[in-house]
């Protein structure tokens, strides 16, 4: 069995790539994709942790799996919402460059 530490390293790398994507991209679509990457990094962590720390008896430690499924569901909903927002923004400004949306600034 793969030690948990390696899976953690994988998760951190994946999360780092996602974070980099969020910080460096200007396109809203790419930022959403990067966010998905970060969410999946977390999912891997959860599933791995659940697999390693098995309790006594069957289905005794399903916490990690359940949370991963929850996150996948919510991520799907979130993507739907975010793409709708991006669509509205694009209709208004004919652009999806996030630098142009600083209306909350002083």
């Amino acid at each position: 069995m793969v030690p948990l530490f390696y899976i953690n390293i994988l998760s951190v790398l994946l999360f780092g790539i996602g974070l980099y994507g969020v910080l460096s991209r200007r396109s809203a679509i790419l930022i959403i994709m990067a966010i998905e990457l970060m969410l999946n990094a977390v999912n891997i962590n959860f599933v791995a942790a659940a697999a390693v720390h098995e309790g006594s008896g069957m289905f005794s430690n399903f916490d990690g799996h359940i949370i991963a499924i929850f996150i996948i569901t919510i991520a799907a909903a979130e993507v739907g919402l975010a793409l709708a927002l991006v669509l509205r923004i694009f209709k208004n400004k004919s652009s999806v460059n996030v630098d142009e949306f600083d209306l909350m600034r002083w």
């Binding site: 974070l19 910080l23 996030v98 630098d99 209306l103 002083w106």
Partner: protein, 637 residues
């Protein structure tokens, strides 16, 4: 007697009811207040009889240790404050029925009734007829509360209420700038005294722990308060009395108060409200008696005011203002009497003067209503067009000048006896001078407007309605008969001094020598007045030119108005300008605007971190998380 409280309460209820009712029918608005006070008079007579005949059998009535007369207290709980046992204030809403409150309340009710009936004619066709009667009802209610109150708190409330009514009624014709100014002046000047009264009352509460008058008196009796404190409290209370009763130097508001309707002058500024100061001193007489200084002070202020105002009256050309100065002079006489231990005499004079002066003012109202003129130089021979008014005026004037058998004679003589018995020769001589001047100005006010030759033709004089004559006849009858109450009638009646006294009952002591001297002085003043104002002998013109400077001083009213104006201009205004400057610069600009400006500055400096760029926020968040993780690692290993 227990229903006595209904009298003020009925009038108090009449106040709002009249306001509403006058919306329905303006010209019938008088019905409610007149009936309210009429019912009040019936209750009053009943209570008076009850008091005189069976007063001592009531549970609530007991012998007052100071006045010696029976005083009946009725009280309900009002409010409580403080911690029981230590600092506890239990204030009751109570009224007291004793000879003093009965006497002054009787004056108030009778004169108010007469004045309100008279006003039906005088104020007819005034657009604010209903409002006039409402405030009249409020006034008589507060005046009776003032008279009946047995604690200083209630007295102070009523004291301010009568001041308010006075203000409202002086400024009744507020379209006139002079009336507006006079109302403000009256309110402001009396306020000076009222502050003294308030401080005095609070000082009593601080030292005695109660607002009840009886508590104060027993504290004085037991020696709980030292002499200085008594004098200070007495002085402060007297300051309030001076303001309300228009004593020197606060007398300046009363002549200007004549801007109000004449019935108001008769009721408030002659008979009742201005007597409240005298009443206050009489009510707190145990306090004043225990301070020799205050007694002398009261006497000196009274005498100064009496002579000073009488002299101004002698040169006054406005009929109503002359009567106002005469009122000031007589109020001074009452204070003189109180200061000379003449308690009974002062109250007797309060009543006699109240009836007589109300009569005089209402006759002056008749003159004003008829010829619409108040300058006595433009009058003359008024007896030809208004004989009844002339006779009534003469009755009032002779009563106040102290002609025997009219009520003013008895009280003035009684005051003279107190002065002779209790004060030195200087006081006696000055009082005799006062008697002389009083006679002189009264004969002047009779001779110049009512006799002699008329300076204008009275072709457009209005006829007087009956309702403006009958109340005067009632008052004149009272003026005729009231004084007889002062003397002892064997088998029927013990004198006024047996009813109202301080310490022990006293008979009316008519000193024949003093009475004859006073009468001679009065008659001499009448003769001189006749020669001067009717015959116009040359010698008086000479005297007038010789004494030009003092007369100018008197005609300018001793420059007291100017002095007050100067004080306001040179002291008050710079002071208030300084205060307003400090307020504007330090409180407003630095204290309020300063912090607000600082917050604004800090905000505009801090706003630069809000870039609106999403990756900046995210990056800072990531950095923060990283910093936290590293810290955690460092701490755990």
């Amino acid at each position: 007697m227990v229903y006595f409280w209904l009298i003020p309460v009925i009038s108090l209820i009449a106040f709002p009811v009249t306001i509403v009712f006058s919306r329905v029918t303006q010209q019938r608005a008088w019905i409610i207040p007149v009936f309210a006070i009429g019912i009040g008079l019936i209750i009053y007579c009943w209570a008076l009889l009850e008091y005189v005949i069976i007063g001592s059998y009531y549970d609530n009535c007991l012998h007052d240790v100071f006045t010696g007369s029976i005083s009946c207290h009725y009280a309900i709980n009002w409010f409580m404050a403080g911690v029981p046992g230590t600092d506890f204030l239990d204030t009751s809403l109570g009224f007291v029925i004793d000879p003093l409150s009965l006497a002054v309340a009787g004056l108030g009710i009778v004169v108010a009734l007469m004045v309100q009936i008279y006003s039906i004619g005088y104020m007819k066709s005034d657009p604010r007829f209903g409002w006039y009667y409402s405030v009249q009802a409020l006034f008589i209610s507060s005046m009776l509360i003032l008279v009946l109150a047995d604690n200083f708190l209630l007295l102070y409330i009523a004291w301010e209420l009568v001041g308010l009514c006075s203000y409202l009624l002086i400024g009744f014709w507020y379209e006139l700038p002079s009336a507006k100014e006079a109302a403000k002046k009256a309110f402001t000047v009396t306020r000076i005294g009222d502050v003294g009264l308030l401080i005095g009352i609070l000082l009593i509460w601080y030292n005695v722990g109660s607002f009840n008058m009886s508590a104060l008196f027993s504290a004085i009796d037991s020696g709980e308060l030292n002499g200085t404190l008594i004098s200070v409290i007495g002085f402060l209370l007297f300051l309030g009395a001076m303001g309300k009763s228009a004593q020197f130097p606060f007398h300046i508001w009363l002549p200007d108060a004549m801007e109000g309707p004449t019935p108001v002058s008769a009721l408030i500024h002659a008979a009742t409200m201005v007597a409240a100061g005298v009443y206050l001193v009489a009510r707190t007489y145990p306090l004043f008696v225990s301070s020799d200084f205050m007694m002398l002070f009261v006497a000196v202020i009274g005498l100064t005011t009496a002579i000073g105002a009488a002299l101004i009256c002698l040169f006054s050309i406005d009929l109503k203002r002359a009567l106002a100065y005469s009122t000031i002079s007589h109020l001074g006489l009452m204070f003189l009497s109180l200061g000379c231990f003449g308690y009974t005499a002062a109250i007797l004079h309060l009543l006699a003067h109240g009836f007589s002066k109300a009569l005089l003012f209402l006759t002056a109202g008749n003159v004003m209503h008829s010829i619409e003129e108040l300058d006595i130089r433009k009058m003359g021979n008024l007896k030809s067009i208004m004989p009844a008014t002339t006779i009534l005026f003469i009755i009032g004037a002779l009563s106040l000048a102290g002609i025997p058998l009219l009520s003013g004679f008895w009280s003035k003589d009684e005051i003279l006896v107190s002065v002779v018995n209790n004060r030195g020769i200087v006081f006696v001589l000055l009082t005799m001078l006062l008697v002389f001047i009083s006679g002189l100005y009264m004969i002047r006010l009779v001779l110049i407007p009512f006799f002699g030759t008329s300076r204008t033709d009275y072709t457009d004089a209005h006829n007087l309605p009956v309702v403006m004559i009958w109340p005067l006849i009632v008052l004149a009858l009272i003026v005729f008969t009231f004084g007889w109450l002062a003397i002892y009638m064997p088998g029927i009646y013990h004198s006024f001094g047996m009813f109202l006294y301080y310490g022990h009952p006293e008979q009316f002591h008519l000193d024949p020598v003093i009475a004859v001297i006073a009468l001679i002085v009065t008659l001499a003043s009448f003769t001189i007045g006749y020669l001067a104002y009717s015959k116009k002998l040359d010698i008086f013109t000479t005297i007038k030119t010789v004494l030009a400077r003092p007369i100018k001083l008197i005609e300018k009213k001793y420059y007291i108005d100017e002095f007050f104006q100067l004080c306001v201009d040179k002291i008050m205004m710079p002071l208030s300008r300084l205060v307003s400057f400090l307020d504007r610069v330090f409180v407003n600009d630095k204290g309020i605007n300063g912090p607000a400006y600082a917050v604004n500055m800090i905000g505009s400096l801090l706003r630069y971190h809000i870039t609106g760029k999403i990756y900046v926020y995210l990056g800072l968040m990531a950095l923060g998380f990283l910093a936290m993780s590293i810290t955690w690692l460092l701490v755990s290993y």
